[in-house]
């Protein structure tokens, strides 16, 4: 036990953080149940991971055409779709309220309002500033329409489930024929990824359920326009696309977060190096 070096500080810090990580992992493995969730190689994983814009856009299509019949996006407005880092961001329209794609999506939804002349409750086509509408008037109605289970809000679903994106993907692709000896309750569906293996939601995806459109993108600098051929709408592909969209919906500032994080690290690294050299300089004549 002589001098404590910087090394021991690092080792100490690493130990503490490592043990926190272990606690975290062990908690996570508790909640998952018997099914082992596959860790997928998402484009947004890791320190430099980004969302796949094409996939997010297809994911929005799936949300609109499939999920939105039961699931709301409580914390989202249409304008969020055109924010920086969002699926339909366009550098031409820094204000998402002006983005024609976002406007068109908003118009596609009917939102509740109060008529400004008569005070009557009305419905009108949405504008980008509107929130995504609720699907059911209240949670009792939601439960009544879905065999007693309230379809959860999807705007934070990847945050609200242990396993996040991997878990949502596992649920969407986890529908199988129930084993013979498995007792499935009335109105329930067998899913290997769900705790207890009985889920109220019927399999939402099936091969070819949606039609991914072929898009023509104008070429850069007046070049030849090129055609983007979409992938085949298999269950795996659709599940992966909706997960991209929902992960963005739950963490719309991820890109800004990682970018600022990188800049912060760069700064802190140089700053700590300078401080270390200053410290050595100041202490150079001191025996310690």
């Amino acid at each position: 036990m002589t001098k404590f070096s910087m090394k021991s500080v690092f080792v100490g810090a690493a130990l503490v953080i490592g043990s926190l990580g272990v606690a975290q992992v062990s908690m996570a493995s508790n909640a998952g149940g018997e099914h082992k969730m596959e860790h997928r190689n998402w484009s947004f994983n890791g320190m430099f991971g980004t969302y796949d814009v094409e996939a997010m856009q297809r994911g929005y299509q799936i949300y609109r055409e499939v999920c939105s019949s039961c699931h709301a996006l409580d914390h989202m407005s249409f304008r969020h779709l055109g924010d920086k880092g969002a699926p339909f961001y366009s550098s031409e329209y820094p204000n998402p309220n002006d983005n024609p794609v976002v406007k068109a999506f908003a118009k596609d939804w009917m939102v509740p309002d109060i008529d400004q002349d008569s005070g009557d409750v009305i419905e009108r086509p949405g504008i980008p500033a509107d929130k995504f509408p609720q699907i059911y008037p209240n949670s009792i109605a939601a439960a009544a329409s879905n065999g007693g289970a309230v379809p959860p809000d999807l705007s934070v679903i990847t945050k609200a489930r242990t396993g996040g994106a991997d878990y949502v993907y596992a649920i969407l692709t986890g529908y199988h024929e129930a084993p013979h000896d498995f007792h499935l309750s009335e109105g329930m569906n067998y899913n290997v990824a769900f705790a207890g293996n009985q889920i109220a939601m019927a399999a939402p995806l099936s091969d070819g359920l949606v039609e991914y459109a072929t898009r023509t993108v104008p070429g850069e600098h007046g070049g030849e326009p090129h055609v983007i051929t979409p992938p085949e709408a298999t269950v795996d592909q659709m599940a992966s696309d909706i997960v991209q969209f929902l992960t963005w919906a739950g963490d719309p500032k991820m890109q800004a977060r990682k970018n600022l994080g990188f800049a912060t690290f760069l700064f802190l690294f140089i700053f700590s190096l300078l401080l270390f050299l200053t410290y050595k300089q100041v202490w150079k004549d001191v025996e310690h």
């Binding site: 500080v9 100490g12 914390h75 945050k159 609200a160 739950g250 977060r257 401080l275 001191v286």
Partner: protein
């Protein structure tokens, strides 16, 4: 060790101020404070903690401008902060991660104090004020965790306030008084928000006393012997401002790692589900920094007994200066105690591990069954109390300590500091 003031006002205005309110003198003396010259990096955590407190207060004040403390809107307003408030995602992340970093730093600071005997005369009050700060931090952390109004917020608050209900005779009325009703609800959330805003300023005041006390008695140091001559010391600035500054920058990198790349790693997925009094989460777990105490609480079957043990675990810290009977401060010169200290440190981690699991799950598999977390926590809890109530008093009497150096300067010269 306050020593003589070295400040000499040069200009007329300085002299005028110095006669009426010697605030510049205070600042100058603070920066020139004679610190032992053998302080290591473990002594940087005081500065790190000051930074943590400041960061929590500043981010908290801005968050409070956008947060709505009602059961209907609290959850939504946190989402709104993260999505629509400019840099709200950063403030929210810094505040939530900051709480964990604050506790990480305070635990290191406390273990450092324990190891080098920084609670021994004449630093008993310094230590006790520190314990009071820790207690206020725990209260603030708990209150703050309720505010996002997720499932863990709600059920954590329900479990913790339930402890008070177990107190004989007055328990039930006390619990209702705290909650503002029969269960956790809107009145609870509003008072928790109010107190969560108040307590950090109480902590800041206590920190003021803590710093005052350390400046009065002087810093302890790794070899735990008193400063004898001026040679044993260095001016706080520039020597320790630079050394601590470097340590703070390294700490900030760990902080930034969590803020920017692992913002959810220390939280719980259930807290992204809006509080629902009708649905109890399968595992109610507190934040990681409460896990050791949670394990002590659940180590005994009786609720009141558990609560007494949990509070007792903190009370022993307050009376620690009189439990440790040794004359020698630093454990560097107490080889036997040092070994028991490392076991104590290990047991604290074990308690944290137990706190994160269900008491009846198997912790250590043996044959067909094994040792459950409940039994592991019992062993660790026993050691926790035995360390303070038996080992420290007894070892103080019986242990043969190593010879202390004559002075800090000599120890440095001999390569012992």
């Amino acid at each position: 060790m306050s020593g003589h003031s070295t400040y000499e006002p040069k200009y007329a205005a300085e002299k005028w101020i110095d006669k009426r309110l010697p605030i510049v003198r205070m600042g100058v003396d603070f920066m020139a404070f004679p610190s032992p010259r053998n302080l290591n990096y473990w002594y940087a955590f005081g500065g790190i903690l000051t930074l943590c407190l400041m960061s929590q207060i500043i981010t908290g004040i801005i968050l409070a401008m956008h947060y709505t403390p009602t059961v209907g809107e609290a959850f939504n307003s946190v989402q709104r902060i993260k999505r629509d408030v400019p840099f709200g995602w950063l403030l929210q992340s810094m505040h939530a991660v900051g709480a964990s970093m604050f506790f990480l730093a305070v635990y290191i600071h406390m273990f450092r104090g324990l190891f080098y005997g920084s609670y021994k005369a004449p630093r008993e009050l310094l230590w006790i004020i520190g314990c009071a700060i820790y207690l206020a931090m725990m209260a603030t952390g708990f209150l703050g965790y309720t505010l996002p109004w997720g499932q863990m917020s709600f059920w954590g608050a329900t479990v913790i306030t339930g402890f008070f209900g177990a107190i004989p005779v007055v328990g039930e009325s006390l619990q209702q008084w705290l909650l503002g009703g029969y269960s956790v609800g809107n009145p609870t959330l509003q008072r928790f928000f109010s107190l969560h805003y108040l307590l950090p300023f109480v902590i800041a005041a206590l920190v003021g006393l803590h710093v005052w006390a350390v400046h009065h008695v002087g810093q302890n140091n790794p070899i735990g012997i008193d400063i004898k001559t001026k040679e044993d010391t260095l001016s706080f600035h520039p020597y320790y401002t630079m050394k601590d500054g470097f340590a703070i920058a390294v700490f900030l990198m760990i902080f930034a790692l969590f803020v920017f790349y692992l913002p959810e790693a220390l939280g719980h997925a259930d807290n992204y589900q809006r509080a629902n009094p009708m649905v109890t989460p399968p595992h109610i777990v507190p934040e990681w920094y409460f896990l050791p105490f949670y394990a002590i609480l659940r180590a005994v079957p009786d609720k009141l007994m558990g609560i007494m043990l949990m509070f007792g675990a903190i009370v022993v810290l307050f009376i620690l200066p009189w439990l440790d009977t040794a004359k020698v401060r630093s454990m560097r010169f107490r080889p036997t105690t040092r070994r028991f200290f490392y076991i104590f440190l290990f047991m604290c981690f074990v308690l944290g591990w137990c706190g994160a699991h269900s008491p009846d799950d198997i912790a250590i598999p043996m044959g067909h069954g094994g040792m459950t977390f409940k039994w592991v926590s019992r062993v660790a809890t026993l050691y926790y109390f035995a360390f303070f109530l038996f080992l420290l008093p007894v070892l103080g009497w019986v242990e043969k300590t190593k010879a202390l150096p004559d002075s800090i300067t000599k120890a440095i010269h001999d390569g012992e500091a």
